[in-house]
């Protein structure tokens, strides 16, 4: 399914839900759950918290969907809700000192690395993934957010502009700055990449 078809299907599902089809919401969740769950995971670093956070995001979507006026902007609207939830939960957990007790090793168990590489290569790749994740975590909040939306969530520039409520030109310049910053931070590990 290409992007155009996906967009049309999402619009149809939103309309079906508003017309009273409860199954349409389940389908909308199935289409977005992996990305929203991983977005949450990038903020809260634990499966349990990420699950709870992502579920809360969809509960908010379910309750607020009847108020959505532009159905074609469902995905941007969903990400706006998701980003707000993630920011709030992240701040709340940080205040409680939650992240002091979390280590990146906890994440390894749920990362399913594809490929038929040998154990040595697999371990090396896991280490590199952890390194990149911890580098992203160490970045300023705004830079981290724009990289997550573009390079992990694979959203279009226009969608990022709508989600973060900033002009398109600002998205482009901020994204280049964030990516350059990531490259500089990872420079010493290039041989691993």
């Amino acid at each position: 399914m290409n992007n155009g078809e996906l967009k049309t299907e999402i619009e149809q599902l939103v309309q079906d839900f508003l017309d009273g089809d409860a199954q349409a919401f389940n389908r909308l969740v199935m289409l977005h759950q992996t990305k929203i769950y991983n977005l949450a995971l990038n903020y809260v670093k634990s499966q349990e918290e990420a699950k709870d956070l992502a579920q809360d995001i969809f509960v908010t979507v379910y309750r607020a969907l009847p108020k959505l006026r532009e159905k074609e902007k469902f995905t941007s609207w969903l990400y706006q809700i998701a980003i707000n939830h993630c920011r709030n939960r992240y701040k709340k957990l940080r205040r409680r000192g939650y992240f002091n007790n979390i280590s990146l090793d906890d994440e390894e168990s749920f990362l399913q690395i594809p490929g038929d590489e040998g154990p040595e290569k697999l371990l090396q790749r896991k280490n590199t993934i952890n390194l990149v994740r911890s580098t992203i975590d160490s970045m300023p909040e705004a830079e981290k957010e724009i990289i997550l939306l573009r390079d992990i969530q694979e959203l279009a520039y226009e969608e990022i502009s709508a989600i973060l409520d900033i002009p398109l030109g600002t998205v482009k310049s901020k994204l280049n700055r964030a990516r350059t910053s990531l490259k500089d931070r990872l420079k010493k590990f290039y041989q691993d990449l």
């Binding site: 389940n26 969740v29 199935m30 759950q33 992996t34 990305k35 769950y37 991983n38 995971l41 499966q47 349990e48 990420a50 699950k51 992502a54 579920q55 809360d56 969809f58 509960v59 379910y62 409680r96 000192g97 939650y98 994440e107 749920f110 990362l111 399913q112 690395i113 594809p114 590199t128 993934i129 990149v132 994740r133 992203i136 990289i147 390079d151 992990i152 694979e154 520039y157 482009k172 310049s173 994204l175 280049n176 990516r179 350059t180 990531l182 490259k183 990872l186 420079k187 290039y190 990449l193």
Partner: protein
């Protein structure tokens, strides 16, 4: 093209969002600038690795959990969910609640434990001994001019040297069976004060027939020898005043039950050079207790 301009276009170049002219300029720059080409490779590798990073799979009961959250929950379910979740706040609240329960239980147990009679006697005797010791210390302190309450005048400073010692009355329980009608041998002033409704129970026990009154007066005012007429004028004023209750005790003593608020008026009548107060400090109403009634003995010298 400068290196900085080239590197500012990396992001658009990678995403294919760059126009054809700019792309050609960047490509040309890479041919002449190995540093920018190296930077570009690092930039590209970083982002491509990021894009290739695996996604975590969603927990199997994810959708069911959303529907569970959408269902209305009872308060009991909310409490159960709270305790089912991980987190330091949960433990903090649970610990606080447990401490509260233990505190209440301990306080209740302390209230229920009876104190044995022997313990009470021991406590009392200990208290008496301690009081005696303190009194002894006080006495010693007084002798050595030690002031236990700095800033508060000593009682002895108010008592005049020539003031008569206060008559000591014993407290005797009032007998209910014996009813003594007082015999008034005081010269009547003409007022109807003896049958005044003020003269009720507190003073009826005083009688010239009984030498041991049931009430110990708080204060004694002695009107010293003067012309008898002058003494009688003061007594007359006292007796005629509706502000207090008066009763004759014997041929030269009058007992008054004065409301605390009217004590100043009594002082106005009695405070002259020819009267003495026991205790002397009672001349100043500032030292009079605010209790409801003061029993005053007026004695003619």
């Amino acid at each position: 093209m400068r290196c900085q301009d080239c590197q500012e276009l990396f992001s658009l170049y990678l995403d294919g969002e760059i126009d054809q002219i700019s792309r050609s300029r960047v490509d040309s720059h890479f041919d002449i600038c190995p540093l920018c080409k190296m930077e570009w490779q690092a930039f590209k590798n970083s982002i491509e690795f990021l894009r290739d990073m695996p996604m975590a799979s969603v927990p199997p009961d994810f959708l069911a959990g959303i529907h569970q959250k959408l269902e209305p929950r009872t308060s009991w379910q909310k409490v159960k969910e709270f305790f089912a979740r991980k987190g330091s706040r949960k433990w903090a609240l649970s610990t606080a609640f447990a401490m509260l329960v233990i505190g209440f239980a301990t306080a209740s147990l302390i209230q229920l434990i009876p104190v044995s009679q022997t313990d009470r006697v021991a406590e009392n005797s200990l208290g008496t001994e301690q009081s005696s010791l303190l009194l002894a210390e006080n006495e010693g302190g007084k002798g050595s001019q030690q002031d236990f309450y700095p800033g508060v005048p000593l009682l002895s400073q108010y008592e005049g040297k020539d003031s008569p010692p206060m008559q000591q009355f014993a407290m005797i329980p009032r007998s209910k069976t014996e009813q003594h009608i007082p015999v008034v041998d005081f010269v009547s002033t003409g007022s109807d004060h003896t049958s005044s409704p003020y003269l009720d129970t507190p003073l009826t026990s005083f009688s010239s027939q009984r030498q041991t009154p049931a009430i110990k007066p708080d204060l004694q005012i002695t009107i010293h020898s003067a012309p008898r007429a002058e003494q009688m004028a003061i007594v007359q004023q006292i007796v005629q005043s509706p502000l207090w209750r008066s009763k004759l005790y014997n041929h030269n003593t009058l007992l008054l039950s004065v409301p605390a608020g009217s004590f100043d008026q009594l002082l106005q009548i009695c405070c002259s050079e020819k009267t003495s107060f026991s205790p002397e400090y009672a001349r100043n109403s500032h030292y009079i207790s605010l209790k409801r009634f003061i029993t005053v003995a007026i004695k003619l010298d």
